[in-house]
Every structure is written in structure tokens, then in C-alpha cells.
């Protein structure tokens, strides 16, 4: 699921920037083709999400969605920059997921009007471009932060292992996602392969 998002986002970002930045627009050209790729990637992304949902582990997905939705006292404290034990997803990760999801909807909404407005002036919403732009600026910032924490920042970059290999180091999980380790240990009989010991 995460890699569907990543792949689609990168293609949309690359094509989008080539449409937006004059230097890239001149170097890459092929504007009509880029627009087509941009729009169809967005549509393919939506379809891929649907497929993952239909064909994948729906219960796990819904469980994750519920996790993202719920912010308890520890989450709220964490957001106020206090130390507080976190679950499988920390409050920042939940926020990122929520913002990304909301932006995806807004991108699609404004993007629809940009695409159709060009073909039929009745669909041209004057502010669609401006909103699409600003979504992009904020998304780019979020994405750079996301990359920094996932790839560069020593304290958090181990999380990438969870995304690529499907497991994380137990000691690291205790330090960063203690409530998740506790929950997993409670269900010790039903081994969750997501945590691996260091021994």
C-alpha cells in the first residue's frame, strides 16, 4: 500500500513539476503527453487503492485506518512535544497520513477542473489552479520532511525497514512505539511478525 502511494506520488510530482517549472517545461517539452501521464497516473492510483482494498487484507487496512483516526492522551501529549509512549504509528505519522489523504482528495478535485476546464471552458474554475499549486507547495514540504525522517535522520530512519522488509528491531520499537510492543506481547500467542528481537 505504501509503495503504491510512493510510486504514484513520485510520477505525479515529476510530471507535475515538468508542467509547472519553466526550466523543466522547456527542457522536457511534451506538455500534452505529460498532462496525459499526470492525469492517468492519478486515476491509476485511485484504482490501485481500490484493488488493494478489494484483494488485500481488508481487516488489517481498516484496523490501520482506525489507528490513524484515534488520537489518545499520549498522542496529544506527543504533539505538544512531550515524551509519551506511542503505538504502532506515532501521532506525527497519523497526522501525515490524514493530511496526505485529504490532499489527495483535494488534488483530484482541483485537478479534475484543471483537466476539464482546458477542454470546455464551462468547467474552468478560476481558483482551481491556485489551490492545486498551494497543495503542491505544502505536499512538497511534507514529502521532504518525510524523506528526511525516513532516510536520513538517524533516530527515525530505521522505520524504513518496516516499509521495505516488513519488520523492525525490537529495541527500536520499544523506544519509539512502546504501546505497540506491549500490545504485541499481550497477543504473544498470535505471533505478529512485525517485531523481531535483537538477540
Amino acid at each position: 500500500m505504501h509503495w503504491v502511494h510512493a510510486a504514484a506520488f513520485l510520477v505525479l510530482l515529476a510530471t507535475g513539476l515538468s508542467l509547472y517549472l519553466p526550466s523543466l517545461a522547456e527542457a522536457v517539452g511534451r506538455r500534452p503527453l505529460l498532462k496525459t501521464i499526470h492525469v492517468y497516473t492519478a486515476i491509476a492510483w485511485a484504482i490501485a487503492l481500490l484493488l488493494v482494498f478489494l484483494v488485500g487484507d481488508r481487516r488489517a487496512l481498516l484496523r490501520t485506518a482506525r489507528e490513524i483516526d484515534r488520537f489518545d492522551a499520549d498522542d496529544r501529549a506527543w504533539l505538544r512535544r512531550r515524551q509519551a509512549p506511542q503505538g504502532r504509528l506515532n501521532a506525527g505519522q497519523k497526522l501525515n497520513a490524514v493530511i496526505t489523504a485529504a490532499f489527495a482528495v483535494l488534488f483530484a478535485f482541483t485537478g479534475f477542473f484543471l483537466w476539464y476546464g482546458e477542454r470546455d471552458t464551462r468547467f474552468r474554475l478560476p481558483q482551481a489552479l491556485l489551490v492545486h499549486d498551494w497543495l503542491m507547495y505544502v505536499s512538497l514540504l511534507l514529502f521532504l520532511g518525510h524523506l528526511f525522517l525516513a532516510v536520513l535522520y538517524p533516530r527515525t530512519r530505521h522505520a524504513l525497514s518496516g516499509m521495505t522488509r516488513g519488520w523492525v528491531d525490537e529495541q527500536w520499537a520499544i523506544e519509539h512505539h512502546r504501546k505497540w510492543v506491549e500490545a504485541v506481547r499481550q497477543d504473544a500467542g498470535h505471533a505478529d511478525p512485525g517485531v523481531r528481537g535483537t538477540g
Binding site: Y20, L21, P22, S23, A25, E26, G29, R30, R31, P32, L33, E67, I68, D69, R70, F71, D72, A73, D74, D75, R76, G87, K94, L95, A97, V98, I99, A101, A102, F103, V105, L106, F109, T110, L114, G117, E118, R119, D120, T121, R122, R124, L125, P126, Q127, A128, L129, L130, V131, W134, L135
Partner: protein
């Protein structure tokens, strides 16, 4: 999960989506307030980001390349003396200068653009239009882009065939070597990479007009805008 958890996730999601959709109404005023900051940032980023707010639109796979040795501007149609001007001949004509604002129909603008070029009267004088000519069709080297103006519109004071922008010869993204500038209308009327001016009896349907955009593209008074 403890009992004190609150559904912030879905609330934040809904608030963002609602805020985002509503921003279609307040985005423009907000952007006017923020624009000194954003254009400051643009300038810091130099040529990487759209400096000063320009976006480059094309309708084909690649932008025309200007070859001064081959390039000609055809001016023909309902005229007594059709001409084919070289770039040097064009540059030798009396030059006009202006500072005007550029507005795109999609909703962005660039203020205070310095243009230098030739007033259309100068070009029409060379070819001596017939009485039956009432409009000019502008054909771009970027096919199949074209657009048109009535003679009356073409002779408005701020209309020109621009050769320079902000003190430099037009760059390739901006329509090198020559583009039409008509500040009172949206940018799509200002044909870039101009290759030919054809004097005609009646304005034809241009590229964007064929997609439903207004022929008389007055800024703020056309294409669904009213200000």
C-alpha cells in the same frame, strides 16, 4: 487504545477537505495578501522556480526553435503588398516600449512586464491592407496554434509585436523571436512564436476559441470572469 482517544483523524481529514474546497472562494484574496512573501521566495530561488509568476504553456510536444537565418515573418492575405520579413528587418523597424500586466485565463498574472517591439500599425503600413480586411489572423510556428484580433483591437495603444521582454530578446519559452502582446486580453490571444500574420475579412475560430474560450478575451469581462 485507551478510552480517552478521540477521532481527530477523521475530523482533521474532513476539516482539510472542507477547507480545501472552500478555498476555491478565498484563495485569490489570500494569495494577494501572501504574494509579496511568495514572490520574494521565488526570487531567492532564481531561475529554478517560476520567477515573478510566469508559467509556460504549450500545446504541442516541443517549443519551436528560432533559427535567425531561416526565420521569416509572413504578412499576407487581404493586402496589396505581402511581405516576408527577416529578423533583422523586423528589428530595424521603429521600436516601441511599454510596461504592462499579463493575465492568463487560468488565473495567474505577472505584473509590470517590460515589453519592447513593433506596433502593429507599422507592420500594416508595410503591406497596405485592402478595404475588405477587417481582422488579422496570427499563426504560430507551434502548430496548430492560432488566434486573431479585429483590426480595431490590433490597433489599440498597448498592442504590439514584442521582440524583447524585460530587457532581453524573447527567450524560447516566451515565444522567440516574436509574440503578440495585448494586455487588455488574456494571454492566449497573444500568439507566441509568431510565423505569419494573415489579413482576413472575418475573424476565424482560433485554437482556444475552438475549445469554448471567448473570442473577445477582455480581462475581467470574458470567459466567465466579471470584476
Amino acid at each position: 487504545m485507551t478510552d480517552d482517544s478521540r477521532p481527530y483523524g477523521r475530523r482533521a481529514f474532513l476539516a482539510l477537505v472542507a477547507g480545501g474546497v472552500s478555498s476555491l472562494w478565498w484563495a485569490n484574496p489570500a494569495s494577494r495578501v501572501l504574494s509579496p512573501l511568495t514572490s520574494g521566495v521565488s526570487q531567492l530561488a532564481g531561475n529554478l522556480f517560476p520567477v515573478g509568476g510566469w508559467r509556460i504553456y504549450t500545446i504541442s510536444g516541443s517549443m519551436p526553435i528560432f533559427d535567425p537565418s531561416q526565420w521569416r515573418l509572413q504578412i499576407d492575405g487581404l493586402v496589396r503588398r505581402p511581405v516576408s520579413l527577416t529578423y533583422d528587418e523586423l528589428r530595424a523597424l521603429p521600436r516601441a516600449h511599454q510596461v504592462s500586466n499579463f493575465h492568463c485565463v487560468t488565473g495567474w498574472s505577472v505584473d509590470g512586464v517590460r515589453w519592447a517591439g513593433i506596433r502593429l500599425q507599422q507592420l500594416l503600413r508595410l503591406v497596405d491592407p485592402l478595404p475588405s480586411a477587417h481582422a488579422i489572423r496570427f499563426v504560430s510556428a507551434e502548430e496548430p496554434y492560432d488566434d486573431s484580433l479585429t483590426l480595431e483591437q490590433a490597433l489599440l495603444p498597448n498592442v504590439m509585436l514584442a521582440l524583447e521582454m524585460d530587457g532581453q530578446p524573447l527567450s524560447r519559452p516566451h515565444g522567440a523571436p516574436a509574440r503578440i502582446v495585448i494586455p487588455e486580453m488574456y494571454g492566449y490571444k497573444g500568439v507566441k512564436w509568431l510565423a505569419r500574420m494573415e489579413l482576413v475579412a472575418k475573424q476565424p475560430t482560433g485554437y482556444w476559441e475552438g475549445l469554448g474560450y471567448d473570442q473577445n478575451a477582455w480581462v475581467g469581462r470574458s470567459n466567465g470572469y466579471s470584476s
